[in-house]
């Protein structure tokens, strides 16, 4: 893991990936923060992880406890879901029982 110097362009690019707008006035502060975290995380480079499997969730450490009872996964059954009205209750905009949103196809 080579030491990385974060640029303003990178911060804006990551913002774009995350669908967040980073204003010019904010770039510096976000960049500084990201840089601090990455600099600090540099310490992980000194840990030898050759042949070590990544651990994504504690579930995998206890899989025996989970699988000894089949109830840990639900059956694939059709069940009643919420009513249309309930689903739409929090919609910012709705129309004719559906979510309403802006034009999906935008002009070039």
């Amino acid at each position: 893991m080579a030491k990385l110097s974060v640029t303003s362009e990178q911060v804006k690019h990551v913002g774009k990936l995350a669908k967040l707008e980073i204003k010019d006035s904010e770039v510096e502060a976000f960049k500084e923060h990201l840089q601090k975290v990455l600099d600090y995380a540099q310490e992980l480079a000194e840990v030898n992880t050759d042949g070590i499997e990544p651990l994504f969730s504690p579930v995998y450490e206890n899989i025996d406890i989970y699988t000894k009872d089949e109830s840990y996964q639900r059956k694939d059954e059709i069940k009643e879901s919420l009513a249309n009205e309930a689903i739409l209750r929090n919609a910012p905009e709705k129309s004719q029982g559906q979510f309403k949103l802006n034009a999906v196809i935008e002009e070039e």
């Binding site: 601090k36 992980l44 639900r74």
Partner: protein, 474 residues
Amino acid sequence: MKDIFHLHEQMKLKKTSAVELTQECLKNANESKNPVFISKLDDRALLQAQRAQERFSKNQSLSYLDGIPFTLKDLFITQDIRTTASSKILYNYIPPYDGYVSENLQKAGGVLIGKVSCDQFGMGSTNENTPFPKCFNPVNDAYVAGGSSGASAASVKENSSYYSIGTDTGGSTRLPAHFCGIVGYKPTYGRVSRYGQIAFASSLDQAAPLANSVLDMGCIIEHITSKDQRDPTQAPLGAMNLVSQLSQAKPSDLKGKKIGYSSYFIEACDSEVKKAMYEAIDTFKKLGCECVEIDLPHAKYSVSVYYLIATSEASANLARFDGIHFGHRTNQASGLEETYIKSRTEGFGDEVKRRILIGTFSLSSGYQDAYFSKACKVRRLISNDFKEAFNKCDFILNPVCASAAFKRGESKSDPFKMYMNDLFTIPASLSGLPCLSIPFSQTKEGLPIGIQLIGKSFQDEELLLSARAFEVRQ
């Protein structure tokens, strides 16, 4: 304040009642200057209390929790009750369904006093990362209540509720319990269903009660550990029935137990916490425990590992907030893409944005191996260290934080510095281990100091029983 266990006995004997307890909590809440509540439910709570009282009058009480007032961190989905995640993006969100925790506690007869504040989406250690008024420490108002479940701890400490359910991702329940002088218990990851708990980092998030005693934890945990088919990461172990055993626990039960501790962590604390930790070791020894030094060689990397993994998971989890189906939608956008960007940019607070950016970066093309994957490998090593350590001891004693409560406003100056405070609580979280913070001492200024006990995976019962035995020492 009395234990839930004893209040239940008194309610059965008609020496007190659900309505009386509820009125008292509401009075305390209404008289408090601390902005703990986001939604207070006076009328609804009184109605629930009346129903509970009727059950008691017919000798048909439902459980130890029947008629007992409680609060929920506003990250728990409550049907028809506004649920904000303490954020602007969910400012007006009223869920059409009930989450597991809310459903089960009310089914047990619990009286829901209200939904309480927290750091937005559970991201923070001070309860200051929120667009709502910032709550403070009931012990001393110059200090924070901790976070992210700060208001949960405050509601218990101020006697506005007898317990609260918070969430703990990297210490969010243990820290406020330590700051406010109450008990905070994070069950083993997978013990409580996360259905209806607004997600921050799914491999770490766990519902976690805050209460006045370990005995109370037994009364609470029984009702939030039954198997819920809606969360496949919840282990199918069934409800934890521990109340009668807890009520009989005595200090001599600790005789012969082995307590592990790591000087690395204790020495990293300020003088007052350090002193308390060595006193705690002495106390355990006096109770007949053997205290042994353990080594957790990779735990010192926990902060790096956590802030790459938790933010990565958060960046994925928070992708659902797009302004389309629910939550804040901008009125400044013309097209769909702009709707996403502006709704999210307007709706999320700075700390949430910072974490989404870190997570998106660490998962992005070209960096994933060096950051996210590397962190997950070190996570495995941290987990292995614990397994090794538990060959030498039954529990691990650790500080909760390097200091007692922080001054208000301190977190603003350097958000990155705040991350370092999680060093003591994160290792157990990364390994999914059960752990709790119990009050032990205080600073010269009178701020509470707690100690943290960490147990073996899915051995929550042993952890709680020993913590109770410690709690009832003379």
